[in-house]
């Protein structure tokens, strides 16, 4: 501990402006502050400051993601061995280890590429490295199908960090959720590799799947009219094909609990998104007629696809979401509503959550604008009344 501090303190002068290793300044600073909260004391304004900082905030989100991630790893193995028909013989550790080995490289690629770019940008801009990517870098692997090639992950991360974030000025300035930008980029750039029935299950070593096996997600099945194939309990637990981290509603709920108890995630957005989804699902149920997907019980929409994951972890990104209290209610409600609408009605996109969130990210500033205008007009009206 002391040795680390000494090392960083000793190397500090060599990365200052004008010194030989100045190009390592941001990296040095990022690593130093990762190990040690700086010793700086207040120079102006309040003399005391809360112990919370952005590292803590992002750390809590990562912590909240862990249950869904671990379950995702297990499910990768579960789906794989399920496709082989070997679920009875494989142990829990076989399943988990298989998933771990599949998922870990994706996470490593995501962090290395993303943080690499962040460090370079921070250095050029003379900023400190922001912590935002600690979360984005984990979110990206969790919304990818497990079969996505690593090079695609790398391109998607690079695209998301550069065009989703840094061109706007970095963490805090971006319009869209960077993780969803990565997902959308792959979805539109490589549609063949990113959808269909084969991408969701790691196929390595599978020559021939067991009879009756299909790699399709419950949502794809439902879109094809097989709504009866949905096993509600499995979908709730997460033992269904899907992106790595998004299948288990129960693991996501644990994460939601962490976010709500610590106050890091906006419960308003979570609740309103779910309400929006339920509302649209119910509306579709009423007008379903003989369309079996529209007739899918409205509550089932919450546990299939990326709805739960999006509502808890994606829609609540404070930077790209609406920022006012009222705005958050409207923003969340519309995400839920649009997600289910796109999911059920639009045949081209099997999942509506990604597009719904990106769309509402775009409109969030507009929603906020009207809320702020409301505040202003209240103040103006008060002035007039008194005159």
């Amino acid at each position: 501990m002391k040795a680390i501090k000494n090392f960083f303190e000793k190397t500090q002068p060599h990365v200052q402006k004008g010194a030989k290793f100045h190009w390592l300044h941001s990296t040095h600073d990022a690593l130093f502050t990762l190990f040690f909260v700086p010793k700086n004391t207040s120079k102006s304004g309040t003399h005391i400051h809360d112990f919370i900082d952005l590292k803590r905030t992002m750390g809590i989100v990562v912590l909240a993601l862990v249950p869904a991630l671990l379950f995702g790893m297990y499910n990768v193995g579960y789906q794989h061995f399920g496709a082989l028909g070997q679920l009875e013989t494989a142990s829990f550790f076989d399943l988990f280890l298989f998933g771990l080995l599949k998922v870990l490289p994706i996470i490593v690629v995501s962090y290395v590429v993303g943080l690499g770019i962040e460090f370079i940008f921070a250095q050029f801009r003379g900023h400190e490295v922001n912590e935002g990517f600690l979360v984005s870098g984990l979110l990206i692997p969790m919304v990818m199908p497990v079969n996505t090639p690593l090079w695609m992950i790398a391109i998607a991360v690079a695209f998301a960090v550069i065009f989703g974030k840094e061109v706007f000025g970095g963490t805090g300035m971006n319009i869209w959720n960077p993780a969803l930008v990565a997902r959308a980029f792959l979805f539109f750039a490589y549609p063949g590799q990113m959808s269909g029935d084969s991408v969701w299950i790691s196929a390595s070593g599978i020559d021939k799947a067991v009879d009756g096996f299909t790699g399709a997600t419950p949502m794809a099945l439902a879109a094809a009219g097989h709504t009866d194939a949905l096993n509600t309990w499995n979908a709730f637990l997460g033992l269904i094909p899907g992106s790595i981290g998004e299948t288990s509603t129960i693991a996501i709920l644990i994460g939601a609990l962490v976010l709500i108890v610590t106050g890091i995630g906006s419960w308003r957005i979570m609740v309103s998104t779910v309400l929006g989804g339920l509302f649209m699902g119910l509306l579709l149920n009423i007008f379903a007629g003989d369309n079996s997907y529209m007739a899918l019980p409205f509550y089932d929409h919450l546990i299939i696809g990326g709805f739960a994951f999006g509502a808890i972890f994606m829609a609540t990104d404070p930077v790209s979401a609406a920022q006012t209290v009222k705005g958050k209610w409207i923003y969340g409600f519309l995400i839920g509503l649009l997600a289910i609408l796109i999911r059920v009605v639009n045949p081209a996109y099997p999942e509506g959550m990604m597009l719904a969130i990106l769309l509402m990210n775009t409109f969030a500033p507009l929603i906020d604008h009207y809320v702020v205008e409301g505040n202003i007009s209240r103040r103006m009206k008060r002035a007039k009344v008194n005159v």
Binding site: G45, I48, D50, D53, R56, G170, V372, N375
Partner: protein, 450 residues
């Protein structure tokens, strides 16, 4: 017609070292000083030279742009030094006390029988006028203005604040005289905010004043919050604010014809051996109050004022003009290994991200460490939790950063000063200097709108 306002938003930061309800005499300060820097936007001009003899109540300097506003010496003695900073800016005008306590003489009269002009002149000449602030901007009131109303907060809700019920219990008569004088200065009302927590406040019997009570966490005691709830400041309007301490000074002035600047302050904070109240004088040398009374375990930070809005001082500096407490906390200039990842049973936080939130009653020792580095605005909905006003603080701050005067005005800059947003700065995840930004905006407005 007294109203009760129950505030929900805000935060009481629980710090170690609250002052016990006992008063001792601080040693008489060998030197006292007035600091022009205590008044935002003031350009001082000296009325005395070094070595001049002054009595208590004689002017030391005045406001260059409102030359009728005097700042007077709290003691009799000799002007010793004038400390200047960059570009010869006056920082401290120091008077060496001669111990004779000679007072300049002013009119001794019942303010009820004086005209408005006579009262204004008396307050200006005696040096009590600078205790009257105006809202918008929190600058010294202009004597020529017609304030819509005058507001006084009857309690201080900030961390480790002095208990007014205790320190003013023998000064009610003077405070009443002060109110009678103030009431002549406005065609509107004089409002007094009473602490909702105290069932029978010593101020509740005051006359010639409209009382409302406010309960809830800090900043319930901030006069700005009370104005917002009672009769908010609109564009083009001016209200005045002052303090209970100033009312007591004014009362004494009219009762005795002398300025008696003695005041009771709280010496509090985790580094003070026995936190309690001290009888001293405004502008007193810090060491005359603090000297020998701190623990000296670690490097200390002495604050003239409270931990949210006070000024950092050293032992050889002086008590601020309006400060009623001195707080001593550890400086805390140390690294915290993986501090951001610690479970944090001992790390008090307004957020619920540390395990300390499981112990809501415990008091903590907090130091001056920033606990993180400055970042862009990321977290939303945080500031609103600590500002019980219908104002969107982040949008206001962004308007200031963008130097957008119209937006600042529309978003309510006339209603707030630094102390109202101090809690936002404390709680901010991104360590943004909220008060500094707000003051920049207020200064801009003074220049552009006036």
């Amino acid at each position: 017609m007294s109203k009760h306002f129950k505030l929900k938003r805000g935060l009481d930061i629980r710090l170690e070292g609250a002052a016990q309800a006992t008063t001792a005499n601080a040693s008489a300060p060998a030197t006292v000083a007035l600091k022009p820097t205590d008044f935002p936007g003031l350009t001082p001009k000296l009325s005395v030279k070094v070595d001049a003899q002054v009595k208590a109540g004689d002017a030391l300097f005045f406001d260059k742009y409102n030359p009728e506003i005097f700042f007077t010496s709290p003691v009799s003695g000799t002007v010793k030094t004038i400390n200047r900073g960059e570009r010869r800016k006056i920082l401290e005008v120091i008077v060496e006390a001669d111990g004779k306590n000679e007072f300049a003489s002013f009119t001794k009269a019942d303010p009820a029988k004086l005209s408005k002009e006579e009262i204004v002149a008396q307050l200006l000449n005696s040096g009590l006028w600078p205790f009257i602030k105006q809202r918008p901007y929190g600058t010294i009131a202009k004597p020529s203005d017609q304030p819509k109303n005058i507001f006084i907060s009857g309690f201080d809700s900030s961390p480790l604040a002095p208990d007014y019920e205790f320190i003013f219990k023998d000064q009610i008569a003077s405070i009443q005289t002060g109110i009678n004088a103030l009431a002549k200065l406005t065609d509107g009302k004089v409002y007094l905010g009473l602490p909702g927590k105290v069932s029978n406040s010593i101020f509740s019997g005051l006359k010639n004043v409209e009382t409302n009570s406010f309960s809830g966490p800090h900043p319930a005691g901030n006069v700005g919050i009370q104005i917002h709830k009672t009769a908010p400041v609109n564009k083009g309007e001016v209200v005045w604010t002052t303090s209970i301490q100033a009312l007591a000074y004014m009362g004494r002035l009219f009762e005795t014809g002398q300025v008696d600047f003695s005041r009771t302050i709280a010496l509090a904070g985790s580094e003070v051996k026995a936190p309690q109240y001290y009888q001293t004088i405004h502008g007193a040398l810090i060491s005359s109050i603090v000297g020998g009374k701190t623990k000296k375990n670690d490097p200390e930070r002495i604050i003239s004022g409270n931990v949210l809005t006070g000024t950092k001082v050293e032992a050889d500096n002086y008590l601020g003009f309006a400060d009623q407490q001195i707080t001593v906390i550890p400086e805390g200039e140390h690294y915290a290994f993986m501090g951001w990842a610690a479970p944090g049973f001992d790390k008090y936080s307004a957020s619920k991200t540390f395990f300390s939130s499981l112990f809501p009653k415990k008091a903590y020792t907090l130091d001056a460490n920033m606990n993180g580095a400055e970042r862009a605005f990321v977290v939303t909905g945080q500031y609103e939790k600590y500002l019980p006003m219908d104002i969107l603080p982040v949008y206001l701050l962004k308007a200031i950063l963008a130097n957008d005067i119209d937006k600042m005005e529309q978003l309510g800059i006339y209603e707030v000063i630094e102390e109202d947003l101090a809690l936002c700065e404390y709680a901010c995840t991104s360590k943004i200097k909220v008060q500094e930004i707000l003051r920049k905006g207020l200064d801009t407005m003074v220049v552009e709108v006036g």
